[in-house]
Amino acid sequence: MTLHRRDLLLAGAGLAVSGRARAQAAPLRLGVLTDMSGPYRDLTGPGSFAGARQAAEEFSAATGIAVEVIVGDHQNKPDVGANIARQWFDREGVEAVIDLPNSAVALAVSGIAREKNKVVLGSGVGSTVFTGAQCSPNSIQYTYDTYMLAKGTGDALVKQGADSWYFITADYAFGHALQADTTRFVEAAGGKVLGSARYPFPATTDFSSFLLGAQSARPKVIGLANAGADLVNCIKQAREFGLMRGGVKLACLLMTVVDTISLGLPEAQGLLMTESFYWDLNDRTRAFAERVKSKRQGGVVHASCAGCYGATLHYLKAVKDLGLERARASGLEVVERMKAMPTDDDCFGPGRIREDGRKLTPGYLFQVKSPAESRGPFDVHKLVATTPAEEAARPLAEGGCPFVRS
């Protein structure tokens, strides 16, 4: 019992010290709120943290403004994420929350940030709702959204002549949205959808039944509206059952470089997917990958790492432009300044942030290399096609964001 009391006293002393320290030096504090222990850890998590820290270090070195980046694990639970965000804003002096993979958590935190007039830099947010019906003037969506994925992959395949589709879809909001978005592009491009199978999520590990069901509908493309381990299982089993030898193409609607590496090139070769970043895209992305390498501890530099870097850097530039005092007083003003200033970073090149908070980024269609083409463990993708930034994002008028003037 005494131990307990002493712990409390220590904790109180610690708080007092940190409070004094804040009053004196007061570094600008940012928090990366991400999945550090769950299914999206490898796609975001430590890589996102590395990207944000890289941006903070480069900015501090260039300007002399001290920036501190902390990290939190939202465990993919909206209530846990919301609690951490509240604590960060109220007690720890955090000015901006970064990353937020898992749209449910992102939307919860976005509401809190708006209420407290802070900033959300959503790099890991995929849902188009984030800059649509539930947009916030305090939030940015930086790296990608499901519209970009559906358009990049769906459009490209239909144009190659793969015009009849069958979907295997994870039976929850994300899977349904991805299927609906893709269906729109397939039909708009003159293709047709033959059917779909919704499988129970997350309780499914064997997809062979769904794959064979899809095959019996004789489509040219099987669209996989799922992600992570489910996607990897689907691809492994499709190859096992010889679907591709029968001439069927797989369209992976949310696949990342991390999934490719997890599958291995022999299994993944030839697959197509859309992303907004790849480390080996050009000289600037390669330079970034080299700089951040020591923080990635052997992992690949992925889109979330790049997105958190780009978003954090642009945020810091806007803060400097606005002045530290005003930036602390109003997150809304910082975000407005971010939208007014053109973006430019090594990962995404020059660009801009639209009124609704969507950062305009080209969508790149990649194909997985064959083992013979690859020269290293991370040399896995080659660029096939590019959707220009203005076309990769949903038209502003279609989003239904309430504060956007039409």
């Binding site: 062979s208 064979l212 381990a229």
Partner: protein, 301 residues
């Protein structure tokens, strides 16, 4: 033959090839269920412990196969021999250090301990290897597929069914038909008496737990080439497997084998008619069985 196929199509309302294909796939999945629930049944039957670490041990089996390949260059066939021994040994250590302290207490304590251990093991693996999964190839000898007319059957899946059948049969024979098995069964009925005859009962119980764990590990090795090798791979499977054990009757070895294969087929059929319910159908059956026969289909009340 054609008229027979027509008859099936008329009755089922689905194309016969699709129906046969799904039945066969159900059988393959059933092989995994049978193998996993067998390990659980052996452990419960002899130790009275509900082993919630089983999913984590299945996952450890798959990871151990990957480690042998990546770090030691030992292929699939070596893994099939070495992994059950190594992972089984970790089970022995676990039983000696922790589980053996709980035999005198209520079932609930064993359940909580093994559940907690499962979570810890999963967390450690996720920290070490990440969440996205590791690649593991089907061995060259089992690559390819047979064209059965109504479907493509990958050679590897056929091998899984055969391996599972052999394992299940061998386990059943050992426990029901040998002297060792007789000791084990006697020890569950009356341990002090068996000990009085000079049989080292605690050691037998330890080895039994190790054997149950080894069965889970072999399941993991068999699963590695077809499922994504990731830390949460066991969690998804284990819930279904528990339902299988409950339906078959806790501790009934034959019951868990038959129910494992049977439920795999039922699940396969559900995928033909209403895929959304394929994860639920097993639990619906479980509820019905529990209402009608609380001890399970093959259990002794």
């Amino acid at each position: 033959m054609d008229s027979f196929l027509d008859l099936i199509e008329t009755i089922s309302g689905r194309p016969a090839p699709l129906l046969f294909g799904q039945l066969l796939l159900g059988l393959i999945n059933g092989a995994f269920y049978a193998m996993m629930s067998l390990g659980l049944a052996v452990i419960f039957g002899l130790l009275n412990i509900i082993n919630f670490t089983h999913g984590a041990q299945f996952m450890m089996g798959a990871f151990a196969a990957w480690m042998l390949l990546e770090w030691a260059g030992l292929n699939y066939w070596w893994a099939l021999v070495l992994v059950p021994i190594v992972i089984g040994f970790t089970g022995v250590v676990m039983e000696r250090l922790m589980i053996s302290r709980l035999y005198k207490l209520d079932h609930l304590y064993g359940l909580l301990l093994t559940f907690g251990l499962g979570l810890i093991i999963e967390g450690v693996f996720r920290n070490q290897f990440g969440s996205s999964g590791l690649p593991y190839r089907i061995p060259d000898q089992l690559q390819g597929a047979w064209d059965l007319g109504f479907m493509f059957l990958p050679v590897y899946r056929g091998w899984v069914v055969i391996a599972a059948l052999i394992l299940c049969l061998a386990t059943w024979l050992v426990i029901e038909k040998t002297r060792l098995g007789a000791y084990l069964r006697a020890a569950t009925e009356n341990a002090p008496l068996v000990q009085a005859f000079g049989v080292n009962v605690p050691r037998m119980v330890t080895l039994t737990y190790g054997f149950g764990v080894a069965l889970a590990a072999i399941g993991g090795v068999l699963a590695a080439p077809i499922y994504s090798v990731n830390p949460q791979m066991g969690t998804n499977l284990i819930i279904v497997v528990f339902a299988v054990v409950v339906i078959g009757g806790m501790g009934s070895i034959l019951g868990s084998i038959i129910t494992g294969f049977g439920l795999g087929i039922v699940e396969g059929l559900t995928k033909v008619y209403y895929p959304e319910a394929s994860a639920t159908v097993i639990f619906v059956i479980m509820a019905i069985v529990l209402l009608a026969r609380p001890a399970g289909l093959f259990g002794r009340a």
